[in-house]
């Protein structure tokens, strides 16, 4: 949902909520006040109606009082003359006094004249109640001594009516009473007058009378109420009010009801309606105005900002930043921040690009270097693999040759017939070749030790003494080749720390090589003390080593002559052993021909007493 739609929705919902709240408060609070007012108004009308109806009884009481205290009436009760009736009981006169019935009752309460008033022969029949009043005990006076008076309401002919009774006395109020005079006035006319005066629908009916359900319900509720009067709304437009009319004994006999228009409520409802309508129109107008202003000052700017940012973000866009908004509000701040961010992003992108190029170059260089290293390592590995195969080939030869010599000599001796000289020589050959075998086996063992365990067990020993022992051993070997091996040494000790067995192996290699490659000329060895080291130099006058082979001499499996004797590990091991003891092994050509091989070990420090060159 777009921000615009959201804004519209939020303001709309807020207004609707406010509208509903306002309606609830106003309507809820004022409606009860209006109802209270309506009830009060109806109650006032009912009170007025009640007064009118009761006034009917009072007025009727006065009228009947005039008739009862009139001497002619008193006389009439005695004479019962027709003249009195003719003169005083005319329908027109009685009707003008709104009397519907008049009755004369003797001292024994027996009716002797009950007249229904009717003009032009329209008099209704005399209701049964008026002929049997005494049976109802409505008379308050006792026979012969009537002094009381009564007035009230009762149902006459099934219709509510006011009735008044007075004892007939002299005009001076003296008795004895000669009977009772009663007058009846129906309340219908009074009710009509009331309704007409108030423009109100007034109704009166006897309890138990067959009336519509609405009235019957009202009658039931009224009878159930304690006050005998009640007001209530009938519907949205009509308010009703009713009260009970009791007879002279206090028994409810009729219901008076008015129905009046709910003008206040209708006016209130209209007021609410117009108020809300006005409020709605105002709210909609306000929302529209608010929305337009929001759109103008906020949303449209945000849209423009969003569009600018999206333009920058498009692939291959030429826009690198947004236009700066010079305002002073939050959107301007947002604009400024985005502008700043994009500027930094631009810088970062440039730096990144530069770094990428630089990194690419560096990476390329590194790859080239690593490739060269890998190629070199691969070449080295291949060389080592080739060397190892060659070693296996050579070691086979180197082991088999002395073995074959031993076997052949033993076989020759077994065959017998060998002269003494030959036998002695044969024995020496067997011995020498056993030594050779041991040397080759030692080569293999030392190589394995260096490759897999590199075990060096150091202890102090005299390097000079060890060289002497080895030289002595190879002295005999040299003699078999008619070569002299000479060792030059002053005789002083050269104490070193190291693995005596390994060092012996290294020195043996140098002597062995020197004798093998001496070219039939003498071999010379020298011991010296140089710069804190014990140095052995073994030299011969054999064939020169080619310059290109000199650097390779100490490599594993290297042999200057691939078909020559040896396994190609001797010098490699010699240098390794020197390095393991912090010493050195190196080669120097000998002038005018031959080779010099050196092996040095650091002298064990004993306080510097014997340091120095010899």
């Amino acid at each position: 949902m777009k921000l615009r739609q959201k804004t519209f929705l939020i303001t709309g919902l807020t207004l609707a909520l406010f509208f509903m709240l306002a309606y609830s408060v106003i309507y809820g609070a004022q409606k009860s006040n209006v109802l209270l007012y309506e009830k009060q108004d109806v109650a006032n009308q009912l009170t007025d109606a009640k007064n009118r109806i009761y006034n009917e009884g009072i007025q009727l009481g006065r009228t009947v009082g005039d008739w009862a205290s009139w001497d002619d009436s008193y006389e009439f009760m005695h004479t019962r003359s027709a003249g009195y009736i003719e003169s005083n009981l005319e329908d027109v006169s009685l009707a003008s006094a709104r009397i519907d019935f008049i009755g004369f009752y003797d001292e024994n309460d027996a009716p002797f004249l009950v007249k229904a008033v009717g003009i032009n022969g329209s008099a209704p029949p005399v209701p049964e109640e008026l002929l049997t009043l005494h049976q109802h005990g409505e008379f308050v006076a006792t026979p012969g001594g009537k002094t009381g008076e009564m007035q009230g309401f009762m149902l006459i002919g099934g219709k509510p009516a006011a009735i008044a009774l007075r004892p007939i006395l002299t005009s001076k109020g003296e008795g004895p009473a000669r009977g009772t005079v009663a007058m009846v006035r129906y309340l219908t006319e009074s009710v009509s007058e009331f309704g007409g005066a108030r423009s109100t629908a007034a109704q009166l009916w006897a309890i138990g009378e067959d009336v519509p359900a609405t009235l019957k319900n009202a009658e039931s509720e009224l009878l159930a109420s304690a006050s005998g009067m009640m007001e209530m709304p009938v519907n949205e437009t009509v308010m009703s009010g009713q009260f009970l009319i009791n007879d002279m004994r206090g028994t409810p006999v009729a219901v008076f009801r008015i129905e009046t228009a709910r003008s206040a409520y209708i006016a209130f409802s209209k007021g609410i309606y117009y108020t809300l309508l006005a409020f709605t129109i105002t709210a909609v107008a306000f929302e529209a105005l608010l929305f337009v202003l929001l759109d103008m000052f906020v949303l449209s700017r945000l849209r423009v900002l969003g569009w600018q940012v999206s333009e920058v973000g498009k692939p291959n866009s030429s826009n690198e930043n947004i236009t700066l908004d010079r305002g002073n509000d939050e959107i301007s701040e947002l604009n400024a921040n985005i502008h700043l961010m994009l500027s930094r992003l631009k810088n970062v992108r440039r730096e990144l690009l530069a770094s990428q190029i630089s990194y690419g170059r560096r990476l390329n260089k590194e790859v080239q270097v690593k490739t060269r290293m890998l190629t070199s390592a691969n070449k080295k590995l291949k060389g080592m693999e080739k060397g190892k195969n060659l070693f296996l080939f050579n070691i086979g030869h180197e082991l088999k040759s002395p073995l074959a010599v031993i076997e052949m000599n033993l076989e020759a001796r077994k065959a017998g017939g060998m002269g003494r000289k030959d036998a002695a020589e044969s024995e020496k050959m067997v011995h020498r070749n056993i030594v050779k075998l041991r040397e080759k086996i030692e080569d293999i063992i030392q190589l394995s030790r260096f490759d897999y365990s590199r075990t060096v067990e150091k202890s102090e020993f005299d390097f000079a003494a060890l060289v002497g022992e080895v030289a002595y051993t190879y002295h005999d070997f040299a003699k078999t080749r008619n070569v002299e091996l000479r060792l030059d040494w002053s005789g002083k000790k050269l104490p070193v720390m190291g693995d005596r067995r390994l060092v012996q192996y290294a020195i043996s290699n140098l002597f062995s090589n020197a004798v093998k490659h001496c070219g039939g000329r003498d071999v010379r060895a020298r011991l010296s003390r140089t710069d804190g080291s014990a140095v052995l130099c073994v030299e011969n006058e054999g064939d020169d080593i080619k310059p290109e082979d000199r650097k390779k001499l100490f490599r594993r499996f290297f042999k200057a002559d691939q078909n020559g004797p040896g396994t190609g590990v001797g010098l490699f091991m010699t240098r390794k052993i020197a390095e393991e003891h912090a010493g050195r092994a190196w080669y120097e050509p000998r002038a005018p021909n031959g080779s010099k091989f050196y092996f040095s070990l650091p002298l064990k420090k004993t306080g510097g007493a014997e340091d120095g060159n010899d």
Partner: protein, 131 residues
């Protein structure tokens, strides 16, 4: 001709091997055994004198046994050749010999003590000719 009368030339750079072969053959009755300490010297001797059999070592400095075979072939020397070698991989040498010099016989040095005489006898039964 008795086999023990055969003239045999041993070409091997290892003096002790040469001496040992010579001792062994002498103990078996062969009295005409000469030695050469290198291929060059051996080929020269073979071309100058008539030998019945050449015992040739393969691994020698400067000129190897293969070089000697080439020289013998090139010089059209018709002496029988028995290669004796202590190489680590004898089957390789045998294969190459069978391919390049099918008339040349082969024997491992370590079997010489027990079987050299028998092998020499086998070789001498074959006709001499260019290799």
């Amino acid at each position: 001709m008795e086999t023990t009368d055969a003239r045999i030339l041993v070409i091997d750079d290892d003096d002790e091997v040469r001496q040992s072969i010579s001792l062994l053959l002498r103990s078996k009755g062969f009295s005409r055994v000469d030695g050469a300490s290198g291929a060059k010297e051996g080929v020269k001797m073979a071309s100058e004198s008539r030998y019945d059999l050449i015992l040739l070592d393969m691994i020698m400095p400067k000129v190897s046994g293969w070089g000697a075979l080439e020289e013998i072939s090139r010089a059209k020397i018709t002496t029988r050749v028995l290669v004796v070698s202590a190489v680590g991989l004898p089957e390789v040498v045998e294969r190459k010999l069978a391919k390049d010099y099918p008339s040349v016989m082969f024997m491992q040095k370590t079997r010489m003590a027990a079987g050299l005489v028998e092998k020499i006898e086998d070789a001498l039964e074959k006709p001499a000719g260019a290799i």
